[in-house]
């Protein structure tokens, strides 16, 4: 696989995203830059500000990346076509939001977090109820009180980066050491949240 992102094929881009680590970041940025002209064309077509279409475009890019990483992008259409369709939907949502104050027409309902499906049925519903009661805004505030390194590691973990990548990024000797540090940060976050 070549690592000069500006000349990567779609297949190489997808491989790079799935590879994770630094390659994933490079390929994310490359994908974003490659079709960024959608922003201006979308603003013209949908009569939105470029700021609005830039947000829609970034949302579309992150959506595509998520679908590639979770295996939901099957490659039946080209990457550009797929991205453009999602971007168009996001722009339409933007228009609708402006005209009717209603949120996304393309929202498919609140999705259950996939990892909850790993839990046995009888405990899943209990845990879901506890989650609903959690104050996400408070948690976000407490996250800012963690040190930069802790916050950075937890965010990387949430994005799906491996402990190997986290170890490299934060100069830990091994993935095991990075994992221990990450979980210590999670424990610290809970202590902050509880106080």
């Amino acid at each position: 696989m070549r690592f000069f992102p500006d000349t990567l094929s779609d297949a190489d881009l997808l491989d790079g995203l799935r590879a994770g680590g630094a390659n994933r970041r490079l390929c994310e940025t490359s994908l974003y830059d490659r079709y960024a002209y959608f922003i201006r064309e979308g603003a013209r077509k949908h009569r939105l500000d470029e700021d609005e279409t830039a947000t829609a475009y970034a949302d579309a890019i992150l959506s595509v990346i998520d679908q590639v990483l979770t295996g939901r992008f099957e490659g039946r259409s080209g990457l550009k076509t797929y991205l453009y369709q999602i971007f168009t939907n996001k722009c339409v949502d933007g228009i609708r939001k402006k005209t009717t104050n209603r949120e996304s027409v393309h929202q498919q309902g609140v999705e259950i977090d996939g990892i909850l499906l790993q839990l046995p049925d009888e405990t899943r519903s209990i845990i879901q109820q506890l989650i609903v009661r959690h104050d996400a805004e408070r948690l976000r505030e407490q996250l800012q009180l963690l040190g930069d390194k802790c916050r950075s590691m937890l965010l990387a973990w949430a994005e799906g980066f491996t402990d190997e990548h986290i170890a490299q990024e934060h100069q830990y000797n091994t993935a095991a050491v990075a994992k221990t540090s990450r979980l210590r940060c999670l424990d610290k976050l809970r202590e902050l949240y509880r106080t």
Binding site: A36, L62, L155, K179, Y193
Partner: protein, 238 residues
């Protein structure tokens, strides 16, 4: 009681062996502390994902990339330019044409290697200079003729032969200066100054030299100056 985050992390990452996984499921049914820790783990992960999403989206938007569709035209133009260059090079290479410096070499070899004295005000010095030149001792010959010119700046023969020596030694600027001085003489019956200037430019073959040589050669022909026959022959080949 300390929370076993490692076990929870391994559970959701599918790193637990089957029997440990079953044990974890069983403990969840009865251990309230574990249930609460799992709820926090999942909830925190969701919040962190939302935060990471917002951060990453802001980073991407801040990139300010090019917003115009890339056009194939620059590449098409570059390709066309390359093709034109290749065709031009091919045309030049395939031309049955002698290089200007080669033309000059042929003339110098044929006509300026053996120098004969035509007239002299100081025959000994000039003769010695020419003898040295004919023996191949160009440096000594140049020194003798330069010294002679110092004493006799109007000596046309000395100026002519000193210029020829400079040409043969590759001192083109000195040769041009001497031949220009020679060409300005109006008292000479025959004056090869213009022709030798052209010859020097052909030999040097620097930027613009070939064009300037053609102009000089045409002037030699038009004025019927010394060397006009050779000038025509050279022009025909250029």
């Amino acid at each position: 009681m300390t929370t076993d985050w490692n076990n929870i992390d391994d559970y959701f990452a599918n790193r637990l062996p089957a029997d440990e996984r079953n044990q974890f499921d069983a403990t969840l049914r009865t251990d309230e502390a574990l249930v609460e820790a799992v709820a926090f783990y999942v909830s925190a992960r969701q919040t962190l994902q939302a935060e990471a999403y917002t951060t990453r989206r802001d980073e991407l938007i801040a990139r300010k990339p090019r917003l115009t569709r890339p056009t194939p035209w620059p590449y098409a133009l570059a390709a066309a330019a390359c093709l034109a260059l290749l065709l031009g090079i091919g045309w030049i290479l395939w031309q049955p044409q002698t290089a200007p410096s080669e033309l000059a070499d042929e003339y110098i070899q044929r006509n300026l290697t053996e120098l004969a004295v035509t007239m002299s005000a100081d025959a000994d010095s000039l003769q010695r200079g020419l003898e040295e030149a004919n023996a191949g001792n160009l440096t000594e010959a140049d020194a003798l003729l330069t010294h002679l010119l110092g004493r006799q700046p109007t000596n046309a023969d000395a100026l002519r032969y000193a210029g020829i020596l400079s040409l043969r030694r590759g001192q083109y600027e000195t040769a041009l200066r001497r031949f220009e001085q020679l060409s300005r003489r109006t008292d000479l019956v025959v004056n090869p100054g213009l022709f030798y200037q052209a010859l020097t430019r052909l030999k040097r073959d620097g930027p613009g030299d070939a064009d300037q040589a053609k102009v000089l050669l045409q002037r030699v022909i038009n004025q019927q100056s010394e060397g006009d026959t050779d000038a025509q022959a050279l022009l025909d080949k250029l």
